[in-house]
Amino acid sequence: MASVTQNNFLTTKLNELVAWGRKYSLWPMPYGTACCAIEFMGAVDAVFDISRFGAELVRFSPRQSDLLLVLGTINYKQAPVLKRIYEQMCEPKWVVAVGACATCGGFYDNYSVLQGIDEVIPVDVYVPGCPPRPESILLAIVKLQEKISAEAIRPAKQSLTGLKSGGALRGSP
């Protein structure tokens, strides 16, 4: 062991080193508007324990977090608020749409509800379920980590113009 730690070095790529650091130190901010937020509380607790995945440091300010978890129904009136909160987060930043409402409006196919948050902000991982169980939220964290580890240090995605469909940004690394 001594021979490994003394006067030795490892070679890697800068991208991979940065991604490795990022993916195990996500600081989530829950944007909870419905029952999905309760499931997220379940994911944080001692039974499911989101800290096993390095994402336990929940912040309630967008300026201190890099993972936006949208947990619940977003209506048209809230859409600009969500967008403003996303804009306030520092790069690099990621978004997880948790539950049927955040991904596609769910069963709220009506006059007031946004049919998926990808109409206003780019989404990295979608979680199905109404509400999803805590395991699903943990799976989303793992999937996001896979995505981050494949991600290069990239230019900021600050510009949100032309996002209406969300198609271009959906699933892009």
Partner: protein, 160 residues
């Protein structure tokens, strides 16, 4: 017929178009022209004393003419009795007098009815949308509002 209905009928005669009573719930259908006067009577008459406006709502009878109906639910805290007052509103002349001057509670009820149904309340001090956002097109609780209509997503407000 109940005593409350008789009280209104004696005062307004032909102005009360019809009245009915069911399981102790008394209902009046009145002319739009005398509505405000009748509501004021309901509030101030010694035997009625309807001091609490519980709700105002709009109803859309799409196939009927006149198309809309505005419903007032009144309660008397001191007398412990209730009345429901309805008035018909046509789609062409879709307005009724505001009763904010009688009950302050009417303010947001009338704004809600305007927001959802597009019924105008004349004399309201601030008749604008209360639940939906500025820039919303249409009135979603009207029966002819398209069920899958989508709105333009509002932009964040500019920083002051």
């Amino acid at each position: 017929m109940g005593k409350i209905i008789d009280c209104f009928k004696n005062q307004f005669g032909e102005g009360v178009l019809s009245a009915h009573e069911n399981f102790g719930d008394e209902t009046l259908v009145v002319q739009k022209e005398i509505l405000l006067e009748l509501l004021q009577f309901a509030k101030e008459n010694e035997n009625l004393k309807f001091d609490l406006l519980m709700d105002i709502c709009g109803v859309d009878y799409l196939e009927q003419s006149p198309r809309f109906e505005v419903v007032y639910h009144l309660y008397s805290v001191s007398k412990k009795h209730r009345i429901r007052i309805k008035t018909k509103v046509s789609a062409e002349d879709c307005k009724v007098p505001s009763c904010v001057s009688l009950w302050k509670a009417a303010d947001w009820f009338e704004r809600e009815a305007y927001d959802m149904m597009g019924i105008h309340f004349e004399g309201h001090p601030n008749l604008k949308r209360v639940l939906l956002f500025e820039g919303f097109e249409g009135h979603p609780l009207r029966k002819d509002y398209p069920i899958n209509k989508r709105q333009k997503i509002p932009e964040p407000l500019e920083r002051p």
